[in-house]
Symmetry: C2
């Protein structure tokens, strides 16, 4: 894929040559960013706010498959998963650093495509790329991103502060990113068997976009603020709803009760589930990579909550002794178990 003679090897360019190229493509959006790439460290002025730091690592063959991940999308997503973590603290992301370990199969053009995606995410969310490290690797591509955000102390929302009877809310819909991954995986398998067959991706736009180009829900944070609501606890959904919900409840020392018929699932996701004979709720509960926000709100905020669009109330917080319960439309109760993606057991 990258073995075209007109492409530039990273070898011929050297690390500093590559850094210069990257630096040349970077714009600064925040006046708090005093200096970015080019010194031993970046300097930011955080004034009287608190600083939030979050970091995520993406490894080729574990978190992404180069056979169906366009590099531009990969760069975009690598940034977004970090911004989503900052959003889940109710803070505003302002800077990122990007470190890459790159094997020799990648050319300069490939890395530039990756940075096109990184820079697009930075522009969309007005985040400054302020530093990083680039190094060679014996194999594959590893991307490590650290995001820095800021918030007034009183705005920060932790995951360990949910209170009994709080309403449990999620933004957007669930399971679409996983449905998208299943479609990409199916088409890859078909292609591996017969490489003359073109991938059949038409009609799957919604689930593919959720998988390849997720967005952090900073819009919902603004909407909640405008509605005068401060969630009591919050986490982002990277590993699947059930896993994240159990995290939040464990941290808060509570239980929860979720109504399956309140789980928001897009029609496009249901179609994929039916096509692949997957149970609907498996996708919604364990899918992962939706990067939606899961948060709790005091019941007294219920009326205000109804004015905020693109979110669903899916249950409520209970005492710890009740455990984690899943209730269906016929009032059958089942235990909710975490079956999120464990990167070690895959």
């Amino acid at each position: 894929m990258f073995e075209n003679d007109s492409l530039t090897t990273l070898d011929s360019l050297g690390e500093f040559g590559l850094i210069d190229r990257i630096k040349g493509s970077v714009k600064i959006y925040n006046q708090e960013t005093i200096t970015g790439i080019g010194d031993d460290g970046a300097v930011v002025d955080s004034g009287s706010l608190q600083t939030i730091i979050s970091t995520d690592m993406l490894v080729e063959g574990v978190h992404f498959d180069m056979q169906y991940t366009p590099l531009k999308h990969l760069g975009y997503k690598a940034v977004v998963v970090n911004l989503s973590d900052i959003a889940a603290m109710n803070a505003t992301p302002k800077q990122i650093t990007v470190s890459l370990a790159i094997s020799s199969k990648y050319t300069l053009e490939a890395i530039e495509e990756l940075y096109t995606g990184i820079n697009a995410a930075c522009k969309n969310y007005q985040v400054d790329l302020v530093g990083g490290d680039t190094t060679t690797a014996p194999a594959g591509l590893t991307i490590s991103i650290t995001a820095i955000g800021y918030a007034p102390k009183e705005d920060i929302i932790y995951r360990n502060t949910a209170v009994i009877n709080d309403l449990i809310c999620v933004t957007g819909d669930l399971g679409a990113a996983y449905a998208g991954l299943m479609i990409l995986d199916r088409e890859k398998r078909i292609f591996m068997e017969n490489n003359k067959v073109q991938p059949e991706l038409e009609g799957y736009d919604y689930v593919l976009e959720k998988q390849l180009k997720p967005e952090p829900r900073l819009d919902i944070l603004r909407a909640l603020k405008e509605a005068g609501i401060k969630p009591t606890s919050m986490i982002d959904i990277s590993d699947g709803l059930s896993s994240e919900l159990i995290h939040l409840c464990k941290s808060s020392g509570t239980g929860c009760r979720i109504m399956t018929d309140k789980l928001p699932i897009a029609q496009e996701t249901l179609n994929v589930a039916d096509e692949l004979s997957l149970p609907h709720f498996t996708l919604a509960l364990n899918g992962g990579e939706d990067y939606e926000l899961l948060f709790t709100v005091s019941q007294t905020d219920y009326n205000k909550l109804m004015k905020v669009s693109d979110l669903s109330v899916i249950g409520f917080i209970t005492e710890a002794t009740s455990g984690y319960q899943l209730v269906d439309s016929e009032n059958n109760i089942a235990p909710l178990t975490a079956q999120g993606w464990s990167s070690f057991s895959k």
Copy 2:
């Protein structure tokens, strides 16, 4: 090496199990660290200071060789190289995040040993480990660390502010880390040929320690402050003196003139150079990984400078048109060229 039955696979522990273990071993040293591991992001209160962010990535087979790098030392060094970047901005490091991509050949015990080193560095330098990410990898070990430091705005020292006639100084001595690496490499080659031969490392303590367990020169920053000196520009020596010096001069728009007989080289390093038939100045100029500080000081501070121990004046800053010059004891002038480690051309 790690295939003992009594050891714990990361698979059996899972990512969250591993994070819990890591979290349990971490101590917090700074009151500015509001929350560390366990939420979407860490929260720090930086009050009225400026924040410095630096990041470095270490890849197995590129930056370290598991055949002669004890994991404890690797963890220690991975932290130190980042603290050194913060020191080079004249700032105080306070927090780090640690991300690991780990292949299945590593056991829990191996990762715990790595964290023993990470935690030892944190304790020595009173730095808080506040977050990170752990993931599986198809092969090898990749460590990505981000360090956060703080300084009053007026204290921060950049690399682009050297002025003509400034004195050029380095801390400690040069080339020892590279000499240590050469010894480890030699013993590895002998061992590969005949694995009954025990490595011959006695008498090489100094150069081995500089290679395996470098220290950031935060002590010199304190000494300079006490002496009433603020360097005009500063950078840390990770890639070798000549490479870093050319960086600093290019950024500052200056040239430089270095006296070879002023270069500080330890006797132990000279011994290794003689033993391996390496030219002395090659080690000092291009060795890399010393993590000493290279900085410039106004000539008016010369008398104050003489009171600070463990540093050497090695030359002075010239106008850009003079280029980068190396002058030997007989006044022969040669051009200084960057032959630092380029991770892409190895």
